[in-house]
Amino acid sequence: MDFDLMFTSFPKLLGATVVTLKLLSASLFFGLIIGLLFAILRLNKNILINKFAYGYSYLFRGTPLLVQIFIIYFGLGQIEYLRSTFLWVILKEPYWCAIIAFTLNTGAYTSEILRSAFQTIKPGIIEASKSLGISNKIIFYKIQIPIAIRQSLPAYGNEIILMMKGTSLASTVTLMDLTGVAKYIISTTFKPIEVFIVAGGIYLFMTFIIHNVIKFLEKKYSFNS
């Protein structure tokens, strides 16, 4: 064990964690918006809209994240027509390709989590609200959405942790995130065990924080208290 290397690589890896956190927060933010949108589309009674939303979640939950990121980064880059459009300004940057892939992936899972949460809301609650003369719009925003979010907290917490680990794939498209910098250090020191232990420790610590924040929120918004 080369403890010196572990100490010297720690600050470098910590610096790279900022990139990981940026990727994670951006994709979770956009992913939540897409997830909520598609969850609502899934509950739509129109079969075309419903199937479209289902198709999206099926496609992105049914293929590996690595394949998705490769298709978006290397695949779309090979289409000559695309390179002449304004889209190339975004797709040229590995950073945005990674965020697009992560967003679409987490969006698909989030839509499923929220959809099932909406479906667990007891019809009695909505009927009671209606009988009090509350409008459908207010029922949706003030009653259904808050309950659905509370219901989906445990599953969504899991999704955040999975996504956090998923960001390590950003290193496959040249981004210098936590895993990318770890690999870079290994390429000059040839000592993978030491460097990956430190990087793994940082990932573990991030999981610890996310886990506890979700646990706190679950308790705070518990139905039983």
Partner: protein, 283 residues
């Protein structure tokens, strides 16, 4: 003794025997993704200059060899962890690597070059044809200065953990914006897509790609050798030691050196180099 015990003993005994037989086999690690040095054919078999050379060297050593595939970024760690006994993967002999492993004498050498897509502003850059960083001198200094100016603000792509990355980060051409990839294939893809303004690798890696893909990839600037680019490509082997395994590694190094001498004298290396590179890259 019941049948159960007998079976187990037989299995253990056979494992022991097999283990001993296989201990004599040399396992050689290669990348399989750096044509024409080493690559894979359509059905996934390893092919290329080093794959054929490895077989020739093993025939000379009268040893049985298996060639295994290993990603480039884990090549030296895998050697150290004894996943295989020798590296033949277009790996240049450099002082940095020699801190961790040892090399046989070089068997081939090949210059590095920058590449761009046709129509790039770098085409027609005025530099000498080739520079040797070990020699130095005013010509080299002037060429590096021209390159520093030409590469400023450009995204330069290269494979991770290579002599090419070391050179770009050495400061010889100023502080360039380096982007590193896991394989040379990915460098080529992003060079054609336009994400990379310039790429740096072995000159043949680009000419081979341009030939096979038909893309308008073209070499620019001088060819590089010496300095950060190392002293030719050799067989990478673990540093020997005083214990049994260390002695075995030290003997393997000797055997490879002898075999390379023989192959060179017989003209085998030249013949294979001409076949794969189109010119005699042997040394």
């Amino acid at each position: 003794m019941n049948i159960f015990k007998k079976t187990i003993l037989t299995v253990l005994a056979s494992l022991f025997v097999i283990g001993n037989v296989y201990a004599d086999k040399i396992k050689i690690g290669t990348e399989g993704a750096y044509p024409p040095w080493n690559s894979k054919d359509a059905s996934g078999n390893l092919i290329g200059f080093e794959v054929e050379l490895a077989q020739e060297l093993c025939a000379i050593m009268k040893r049985e060899c298996t060639i295994v595939e290993q990603d480039w970024d884990g090549m030296i760690p895998a050697l150290l962890m004894r996943k295989f006994d020798a590296i033949m993967a277009g790996m240049s002999i450099t002082a940095e690597r020699q801190k961790t492993i040892t090399f046989s004498q070089g068997y081939a050498d090949e210059v590095a070059s920058l590449a761009v897509m046709k129509g790039s502003s770098l085409v027609g850059m005025e530099t000498p044809e080739g520079i040797n960083l070990s020699l130095g001198g005013s010509d080299v200094k002037k060429a590096l200065k021209t390159l520093t100016g030409a590469l400023a603000g450009k995204t330069v792509c290269t494979q991770t953990g290579t002599i090419h990355q070391n050179f770009l980060e050495s400061g010889d051409v100023g502080s360039v914006n380096v982007r590193t990839y896991k394989t040379q294939d990915e460098v080529n893809l992003d060079l054609t897509s336009g994400r990379c303004d310039v790429a740096l690798a072995a000159a043949v890696a680009f000419t081979d790609y341009a030939d096979k893909s038909g893309e308008a990839v073209t070499l620019v600037g001088p060819t590089f050798s010496g300095g950060a680019f190392g002293n030719g490509v050799g067989v990478g082997i673990r540093q020997g030691g005083d214990d049994a395994i260390g002695k075995r590694d030290a003997k393997l190094l000797k055997d490879f050196n002898k075999a390379i001498n023989t192959a060179r004298k017989k003209g085998i290396i030249s013949k294979l180099a001409i076949k794969h590179f189109g010119f005699d890259a042997s040394m």
